[in-house]
């Protein structure tokens, strides 16, 4: 690399076709780019100010120990760090790892078909990509991790995204784009061979099932015994059906219009929910226990996955996108305006131990799996390889969309963390300790939380009953899963801006509603994708299954996939130990293992690009090593730890021993059936842990072999598509630079000349 002059980040392409001399340049000339990247006084002043503000904010959060810390410092620390990471680190990655070449046409340009491959405006594609990657994950993990105090989670979310999560998203997006939008599974097969590839595909299928099951568990826990929540979330189904019919038969293509109508109906459903939950028949009809709701979601998941997309999935997806952007803008604005004071300690009493009531396990490694989405999320590799790379207009835009999109998700996670830690700690622990610990009653929760010996916490029964009453719920005790806590935090912040205490119930259920909306969309989209993967795999043996129009095949594979996640969901709902606290680590471990797999594939790809890449491999090696250590250690804890609260197997054998000894109650399990359930659940969890970690280690080993081989040989085969000359230009970042705007104008003028005025819209 040192032999190259600064600024020349593109390799010479002597073999490529010559650019059309009749056209303006398809990339910003290197000299122009260098001139624009030169440091000027105003630039130095601005970046120094950003660095200073970021430094002060971090000091306020991490070092100054006052009674409270203002939430605004979290926002500033996050935004300043993101800006610096984006401006400096992502440019290093662009320059030395990705090395984009805007003279090359992207798949969207080469294969343009007006449908799947469409060169899309970078700012619009950023929104698309963000809507596809962000969901309930970044909202839930940070809430659970808040039991360790605010600082560990904050540092991991902000530093993790800059060095790991955004790096993964950016590079998977870039390399998938260079391969015509191949999926991470296909890339694994190309780069790592059959063993690594197969392991990667099985791992992604299993991980998808686990993720669906645990997200569904979050919804079930949020809706259990909550007639208001059940009514308003159930209403999203008729609303989506109406939107689907409207778009199909009344006004095709009017998506914004129908989304606004749907949004208004949604608000009406939330308001109506409050009224319905106040009537005796409403309480009778919509107060459902968790097992019933779980079965409802399972049946719903099956129906939604076999119905045509236009009827249910697509309209709900529009609604979900609309809500996602709206709610995040709203929440960010509210946090800035309300500026809540945070009284949670930086490190809580549970940061040092492994027996926290929300999720068990030591800070290392369990913090890093509890917060997956928002810092590093392997699931994004499935999104960043697939739809988004087929829509990229110019290669250089991948940095803004891939790296920048993940920074935005991280910001959402910080917002969720702020909302959760703005709550009283006593209430936080009463809501997030499992019913096995609190007994599900106000008295039990008060006794349990006060027995934890938390500094400054003195929970009273009135606090719990009055909070529940304020948000229109029967009880808030043991509402685990993160969603209700976040909803309470959001209600707390929003009511200070709009409506006061009178609207607290509305905001609480508004928050529950949008989390449920994201999750249900993820559930049926995920079921569909998993079904296609299974159809493809079975199709290798029984070819008929590859025919996606063959209804029996569709039904059988859908039923198998729904049975897979539905089974885990039911185990989680009926788990005598609490459910979320035992199953959530599996979700995080699965998600991070997928990240390990994605980074391992990227590592092999980069090593094969040639010797000049070797000294920059640490950029991928750093997050890969960290994620691999975290997930393998976490899996090892889950498999081998002798502490029953942490190790699945030690719990398994403890309960089995008790059963064999003829005992009829053990720990929090009061009956023989409950003890048998624990024995069964811990076995499932233990086996899944073993399977995941084995698959991931297989992929990492095959990747290391491919990487070392490539380094020794000075490179390897490339599976990139052959370069084709680009015939268009667009700026790279959100804002066009002056030179980019000038070049854009030249192209616009050319297009205007080339086309008769009547054909232009």
């Amino acid at each position: 690399m040192t032999s190259q002059p600064p600024g020349s980040t593109v390799e010479a392409r002597p073999d490529g076709p010559e650019p059309d001399p009749a056209l303006p340049p398809t990339e910003l000339p290197a000299a122009e780019r260098e001139r624009e990247s030169r440091w000027t006084l105003p630039k130095i002043v601005i970046w120094a100010a950003i660095a200073l503000l970021g430094g002060v904010s971090w000091t306020m959060i991490a070092i100054v120990r006052g009674e409270t810390v203002n939430a605004l410092w979290f926002v500033f620390a996050a935004v300043c760090t993101y800006l610096i990471g984006y401006r400096f680190y992502s440019k290093v990655i662009e320059r030395y790892i990705a090395r984009p070449d805007d003279r090359r046409a992207t798949p969207a340009e080469v294969r343009a078909d007006g449908k799947d491959y469409v060169p899309t405006d970078r700012r619009v594609l950023y929104g698309h990509h963000f809507a596809a990657i962000a969901g309930a994950g970044p909202l839930v993990g940070p809430v659970l991790a808040a039991q360790m105090g605010y600082l560990p989670g904050t540092i991991w979310i902000i530093v993790g995204v800059v060095l790991a999560g955004a790096v993964q998203d950016y590079l998977v997006l870039f390399f998938s784009m260079r391969r015509g939008g191949r999926t991470i599974g296909q890339m694994a097969r190309d780069e790592l061979g059959r063993i690594g590839g197969t392991a990667a595909i099985i791992a992604s299928l299993l991980i998808m099932l686990i993720i669906i099951a645990i997200l569904a568990l979050v919804v079930v826990n949020a809706l259990g015994e909550s007639p208001w929540g059940v009514f308003s979330v159930a209403m999203t189904i008729p609303i989506a059906l109406f939107m689907g019919v409207y778009l199909r038969y009344l006004r095709p293509g009017k998506i914004s219009e129908v989304s606004i109508i749907g949004f208004v109906l949604l608000l009406a459903a939330i308001i109506a929910g409050g009224w319905v939950a106040g009537t005796p028949w409403g309480v009778e009809l919509f107060t459902l226990d968790r097992t019933t709701i779980a079965w409802g979601i399972i049946i719903y998941g099956f129906i939604a996955a076999v119905l045509p997309v236009w009827l249910l999935l697509a309209p709900r997806d529009y609604l979900s996108t609309f809500m996602k952007i709206g709610v995040i803008v709203m929440l960010a604005g509210a946090v800035m305006l309300v500026r809540p004071e945070i009284s949670v300690p930086a490190f809580s009493e549970f940061a040092g131990g492994e027996l926290g009531p929300v999720v068990s396990g030591t800070l290392f490694p369990f913090l890093f799996v509890t917060i997956a989405c928002g810092a590093l999320s392997g699931f994004h590799a499935l999104i960043a390889s697939g739809t988004t790379p087929k829509l990229i207009e110019k290669e250089r835009q991948t940095r803004f969309i891939g790296y920048g999109g993940m920074l935005m998700e991280s910001f959402v996670a910080i917002m969720a963390l702020v909302a959760a830690i703005s709550l009283d700690r006593g209430i936080y622990f009463a809501m997030n300790s499992s019913a096995a610990a609190t007994g599900g009653t106000v008295e039990g929760a008060v006794a349990f939380v006060n027995s934890l010996g938390l500094m400054g916490v003195n929970l009273t029964p009135e606090m719990l009953t009055s909070t529940a009453q304020a948000v229109g719920e029967e009880s808030i005790v043991s509402r685990t899963g993160g969603a209700p806590t976040l909803a309470l935090g959001i209600a707390n912040i929003m009511q200070q801006l709009f409506g006061g205490a009178a609207l607290a119930g509305f905001w609480y259920h508004f928050a529950i509603m949008f989390e449920a909306l994201f999750i249900l969309t993820a559930v049926d989209a995920g079921t569909r994708v998993a079904r296609f993967m299974l159809q493809d795999s079975i199709g290798n043996v029984i070819p008929r299954f590859k025919d996606t129009g063959w209804r029996p095949g569709v039904w059988i594979t859908t039923a198998l996939m729904v049975a897979g996640w539905g089974w885990i969901l039911i185990l989680g709902v009926t788990d005598p130990l609490g459910g979320i606290n035992t199953f959530f680590p599996l979700f995080g471990i699965a998600n991070q293992l997928l990240a390990v797999i994605a980074l391992a594939v990227v590592l092999a790809i980069v090593a094969k690009r040639g010797p000049s890449y070797v000294r920059w491999l640490w950029i991928i090696g750093l997050p890969l090593t960290f994620a691999a250590i975290v997930t393998i250690t976490a899996s090892a804890f889950k498999i081998f730890s002798p502490v029953p609260q942490v190790g699945y197997w030690s719990n398994h054998f403890a309960f089995r021993g008790a059963l064999e000894a003829g005992e009829t109650s053990f720990g929090t399990a009061q009956t023989v059936e409950a003890m048998e359930a624990v024995v069964r659940n811990t076995m499932v969890q233990g086996i899944l842990s073993i399977v995941f970690v084995t698959l991931a280690i297989t992929v990492v080993i095959t990747s290391l072999i491919a990487t070392v081989r490539a380094i020794r040989a000075g490179g390897g085969d490339t599976h990139e598509d052959a370069p084709v000359d680009s015939r268009r230009f667009a700026p790279s970042g959100f804002f066009a630079t002056r030179a980019e705007r000038e070049l854009e104008r030249t192209w616009d003028a050319l297009r205007a000349d080339a086309r008769p005025a009547s054909a232009r819209h």
Binding site: A112, D113, G114, K115, D116, V118, D121, R123, V124, G127, H128, A131, A132, I133, A134, G135, A136, G137, M208, I211, L215, L247, R248, P252, G253, K254, I255, S256, E257, P308, V309, W310, L313, A314, D317, Y318, S320, T321, F322, I325, C373, S377, F379, H380, L382, I383, G386, F518, T521, A522, A525, G526, R528, V529, F532, T548, G549, N591, A759, H761
Partner: protein
């Protein structure tokens, strides 16, 4: 109104500039929303069709286009993340 406007031309022009900026911002938000939600997909298709097939091949009607698009999504689902 006109008399006072004539007396304070600087302020009127700044008000007008403010309104224009607000209008631009409004149009930008509307443009972004329509693009993001996908309202413009049919127009994109028509543009593409005109550029590749010219006038010989009749493009799909808007209704046909959306049906076709939904069928394709049925055959080719995209994942949504957690």
């Amino acid at each position: 109104m006109t008399a006072s406007a004539a007396r304070r031309p600087a302020r009127t022009s700044s008000v007008r500039a403010g309104a224009a900026a607000l209008g631009r911002a409004g149009r930008a938000v509307a443009w972004y929303l329509h693009e993001l939600m996908g309202d413009t997909a049919y127009r994109v298709y028509l543009d593409h069709h005109a550029a590749t097939h010219g006038a010989e091949v009749e493009p799909m009607s808007e209704r046909e286009f959306w049906r076709c698009r939904m069928n394709e999504q049925d055959q080719n689902p995209g994942a949504r993340c957690c």
